[in-house]
Amino acid sequence: MMTCAHPLCSSIVRKGIVGLTGALMIVFVLGHMTGNLLIFLPPEAINSYAEFLHEAGHGALIWLSRLGLLTIFAVHIGLTISLKYENKKARPIAYATHQPLASNWASRHMLLTGLVVMLFVVYHLLHFTAGVTDHSADWRRPIGGPGRPHLLDVHSMVVNGFQNPYIASFYIVCQIVLGMHLWHGGSSLFQSLGINRGFWKRITAWAGPVVAVVVVVGNCSIPIAIQARFIQCHADIEMKKAEIDSKNGKLPRLWSPANGGSASASQPH
């Protein structure tokens, strides 16, 4: 079963690493979510935040983070698969009937929810990072002007992306799946890492459900708010105003994809 007999290859160490990488990814997910929630503020907030991410350490931070996340992701998935393989082998003949008592759907389907999350991440990267799945990334135009090449209109990109009801629903479904993964994983990692004494004993059982609810509510609030038109694309609004203005014989006042993005809302003509 196990090819390596070294203590560091034991099932417990591997499971511990799965827990640890899971914990790191939860930190990332929470951070990512907090950043995303800036969308509820005026567009400058999220756009400046995105600019900061790209600027920090002369652009090194984002690449280091991406590399780190990729590694964590790969280790998390790789070790899980090695454990899962052993688990499958450990019971070659299944029971005719089996009545689970303590587990729940989420805890029994971690591999499934994990794979869905993985596919979602791939889509998410293609969607917003690479911008190859629809046209929402077209809205991510530089708006910073000279000296600020990384100030992009992330706000418009996100809003445009989520105005599509199919994409919004897909994201919501995936967040719920992620929530289920975290529901179990967020508590389970404490057990795997052996953190259950004193203060920790009181929080471990709640940690997963709390993280899951926070992540699902936080992340889903964005597509829902956009679908509900609570958040609108400021570029759209400005364009509409510009149309009205031009009908009234006034000059356009702002940047829009139509005019090549050379103008900015704050620059009067």
Binding site: M1, M2, A5, P7, L8, S10, S11, I12, V13, R14, K15, G16, L83, E86, N87, K89, A90, R91, P92, I93, A94, Y95, A96, T97, H98, Q99, P100, L101, A102, S103, S107, R108, M110, H184, S187, S188, F190, Q191, S192, L193, G194, I195, N196, K201
Partner: protein, 248 residues
């Protein structure tokens, strides 16, 4: 009452095995589950048929011999061993599926009898304090805080029945091994060999082909002695510490 039993029959380790159907009537609600099987076996013997083989011994819930999956639940519908499961928990006309523990590390030997010697081998790997007979100091020279002694006892009362393995969807022995590791790990007597013990016992557990823990606590839910899964976290901590920080 009358019950329909769907019982696993397998003549030996090489046999493929199959379910056999038996109907038994006149079952009293005060019978234990094993007594119900005794009655069935008496009837089979009266027909010259071979009785259903199953492990059992003390019939008071402490030896840990009895081991069967009853309607998909290790030991049956109530917490406790099969011998302490009473027929008052079943109803007239019910179909009862009886299977052996299923795990690669617990091969079926005959009908409901499985080979649990993997548990013995895990204990042989380090589940002891290396002390020879004779020469022990006075028992009271080594004070043990009451809480530690109680917690060690919580772990030590494991009866080694294997229900934890049977109920775990990964056939993992983590609760059993954790109970054994924690019993000695919580006591001062167990400290000198603590790191080596947890490493050796976990390595043996992995080698025997048990699955891994996915923290679903099915083991805890069926453990006849209600051994908490906290001990698994304790063992994880012990093992991670011992494997990451090698002793001098």
């Amino acid at each position: 009452m009358k019950l329909h039993l769907k019982v696993w029959r397998q003549s030996g380790p090489q046999d493929k095995g199959r379910f056999e159907l038996h109907t038994i009537d006149g079952v009293s609600s005060d019978m234990s589950f094993l007594e119900m099987l005794d009655v069935l076996n008496d009837r089979l013997l009266a027909q010259g048929k071979s009785p259903i083989a199953f492990d059992h011994d003390c019939r008071e819930g402490i030896c840990g011999s009895c081991s069967m999956m009853i309607n998909g639940r290790a030991h049956g519908p109530t917490r406790g061993t099969t011998c302490q499961t009473y027929m008052r928990n079943f109803h007239d006309g019910q179909t009862v599926v009886i299977e052996p523990w299923r795990a690669r590390a617990f091969p079926v030997m005959c009908d409901l009898v499985v080979d649990r010697s993997a548990f013995d081998r895990i204990q042989q790997a380090g589940g002891y304090v290396s002390v020879n007979t004779g020469g022990a100091q006075d028992g009271n020279c080594l004070p043990v805080p009451k809480d530690d002694a109680e917690r060690a006892m919580d772990a030590a009362q494991c009866i080694g029945c294997g229900a934890c393995v049977a109920a775990c969807k990964n056939a993992s022995a983590m609760l059993f091994v954790a109970a054994k590791v924690s019993h000695l790990g919580l006591l001062p007597q167990g400290q000198p060999e603590r790191a080596g013990r947890v490493l050796a016992m976990v390595a043996k557990m992995d080698e025997e082909g048990f699955g891994n823990c996915t923290n679903q606590y099915e083991c805890e839910a069926v453990c006849p002695k209600s051994i908490p899964a906290d001990f698994i976290a304790r063992m994880n901590r012990d093992h991670l510490g011992s494997s990451l920080i090698p002793s001098e």
